[in-house]
Symmetry: C2
């Protein structure tokens, strides 16, 4: 038994290593491809996705059957589902990425030194990116497409539920690469559902440059703990709507409702509603009206409960819980400083918004909140690469190193210094 299990682990390791090696080789060629060739590959891949739409739907039917067998809930099954419309959205998403400016070979800075050395800082691809994600099969197209655009080879490891859909989408991307004369191995998918493959990936620091985990807390924690490779982490979004005493009441209602309820399963959905004591009695009931009508459960501290009996008690865990569901926690605070301290303590440094007509209070909030995205008078649901004008995104980074906020093609590059001399030696 033990021997067989070991052999199996060895097999997985060998397989993953082989994928890493061909990714590395392909990445060398892709890194040197010009913008037109990469865009050709993306547009060709979009065409192949459209041609294969029926086959993709059929593969998805197999995944959906597997999901039902495994007893996945309705929300997860919806994330997994591919309709004709969603498949078309993948294809046009690839075309959108093709239209973006090329993120590689940008001159990020250029200067000359007194000794005549000419220094340029130039953007370059990261190399090989390993992306580990959960159910949604369209991440395969988004992540693969962004890697193609940014000159990086991608090793994709999707959720086991989306195995058939993702395999076929990967095949479309590979066909697009071939049509443009690029190596198909620029995009590869783990050809196994074996969980050991993830472990093997995380050890290959010589063949994978960056790991991007995209999924729930347990996935991120596993990856962060096990990885020998630098991780671009996308942690949870415990996002806050802060209704300041100088808020426009109608705007506050609309922003609270939209931030929480537009979609509850996204990381930019608000989980906490923080409101100033001065205005809580006047404004909270109307906000609760809208939320309750939309089907939201409302928890809150004792002050909030005293004002509105539809509010049930919140525990201390509530303030730092990412519900990803129709639940929000209300906290009454004693003004801006108190709100800043609360968000600092309980938030996840992802996205927060202040609703106020007071420009000074807004500036203080925007400056002092230590989150990747801070908004004034706008919904937290704008936390999204597309909404930022970046085309697709591979996720929202809560790291402070490298990329923070939405991670698009530009954020998947590094840089190098090119120095041109005329024989200079250092004294």
């Amino acid at each position: 038994m033990n021997i067989a299990a070991n052999l199996e682990q060895d097999d997985v390791d060998a397989l993953v290593r082989q994928i890493g090696e061909s990714a590395r080789a392909a990445s060398r060629i892709l890194a040197r491809a010009d913008a037109a060739t990469k865009n050709h590959a993306l547009n060709a891949a979009a065409d192949v996705v459209r041609t294969e739409a029926i086959q993709i739907e059929q593969a998805n039917v197999r995944d959906m059957a597997f999901a039902e067998e495994k007893g996945l809930n309705a929300a997860l099954r919806d994330r997994l589902l591919l309709t004709a419309e969603r498949i078309e959205a993948m294809a046009s998403g690839l075309e959108e990425v093709a239209k973006l400016d090329d993120p590689v070979s940008r001159i990020l800075g250029e200067w000359e030194r007194p000794n005549g050395l000419k220094i340029a800082r130039v953007s370059v691809p990261l190399g090989v990116i390993g992306i580990i994600y959960e159910s949604r099969p369209n991440v395969t197209a988004d992540a693969g497409g962004l890697c193609m655009k940014s000159g990086n080879a991608a090793i994709l490891r999707g959720g086991s539920e989306s195995f058939h859909s993702s395999s076929l989408i990967t095949a479309c991307l590979r066909r697009g690469l071939e049509i443009a004369g690029l190596p198909a191995d620029c995009v590869q998918m783990m050809p196994t559902r074996d969980r050991a493959a993830v472990g093997a990936m995380l050890q290959m620091a010589d063949l994978i440059d960056v790991i991007v985990p995209r999924g729930g807390r347990s996935l991120i924690e596993r990856v962060t703990t096990e990885s020998r490779i630098p991780v671009l982490a996308h942690l949870e979004g415990v996002c806050t709507v802060y209704v300041h005493e100088a808020a426009n009441a109608e705007m506050a209602r609309e922003i609270a409702l939209n931030s929480k309820m537009r979609r509850t399963g996204v990381c930019g959905s608000a989980e906490n509603l923080v409101i100033d004591r001065n205005i809580v009695a006047a404004q909270l009931p109307a906000i609760v009206d809208l939320l309750v009508e939309a089907g939201c459960e409302i928890r809150g501290d004792s002050e909030a409960q005293a004002i509105d009996d539809r509010i049930v008690p919140a525990s201390v865990e509530d303030w730092s819980t990412e519900y990803l569901d129709a639940v929000i926690a209300v906290k009454v605070v004693d003004g801006l400083e108190d709100a800043l301290a609360f968000i600092e303590h309980y938030g996840s440094h992802h996205t927060e918004t202040i609703v106020t007509e007071d420009a000074g209070a807004a500036d203080k909030f925007l400056t002092q909140i230590d989150s990747g995205i801070v908004l004034h008078n706008a919904s937290t649901q704008f936390a999204d690469g597309g909404e930022f004008g970046m085309g697709a995104e591979i996720g929202i980074s809560t790291s402070k190193l490298h990329a923070r906020g939405p991670v698009g093609a530009e954020q998947l590059t590094s840089y190098k210094y090119i120095v041109r001399g005329a024989g200079q030696c250092r004294s």
Copy 2:
């Protein structure tokens, strides 16, 4: 015995945690300090260093005595030594950092979306930076000063050999902060030589945002393996001088000599000399003349040895060894492609230079070599933040994420997105 050891570990943990908490609190204030206040602190710290110069020399005498007791070799003792001149260099280094542009609150990008949202990407400090370094006490001033400039609180953990010197230099920085009205705890040094303190630091992901290890391979490996905090790694420099067939022979000699011998103990010192077969017989002996005269040992492959009998055999390990000493390994190659493959395989992606008069060959080398710094007709010893015009540096990053090449004040920042709306909700 066991209980005492456990208690001790608990004490260290509690101490390190307390330092982390006061660093976090101080970092909030420093992050909001304006450029003038931070520069005031840096200039005041420079004055204090000058006032305390004699005391710093005396503290250094104690460290030097400890180093001799421990049997440190001459090169390491030289790195540890502080002279009046070196102390003055620390003071003027702090003043140089004060003169740099403020790296915080730079607008890195600004755009408006069709829905009227105004988005700005603004640089912000990283927060709390933990710096773990070896012997050289002047790193204390450089690293502390760069953190002050970039609005980051610093937790310094120097080598145990430099404990007394570094403690006093830290005290000078703290006095400078106080003079400018900033919290002294913006810069703290581990008040213990206990190695367990490093382990405790590496676990404090909630209080330290980034770890910067600066030192030898074993330190970097320990930190990379143990750290729960993102690491900005400064790996070894296995740097290459490539003498292309179209090299100017005199320039090649000077660049080879300077790249290897100007200082052998720095990461930008060349460890490999790669030379084209076409010209090896004509040019190698004169290069060897210069190197041997300067006291360099030369190892090489069989072809190199056949040409010059002062060259001793190189083993395969030589090609990827960072000697940090007066030793260089010579490899004969069959042109540019062969050189690129050799460097890709054996180099450490730090710094490489090509010597050639052929602009096409130079461009290909500069584009295709995957290193943080690539030079044409210049010495690898220019791999240095000061030489790049960045003021001081905290090290040379071989990471691809976040910062690559010299890490100065600008590289110690992150960014956030500030979004200004007028009530926008997402449809």
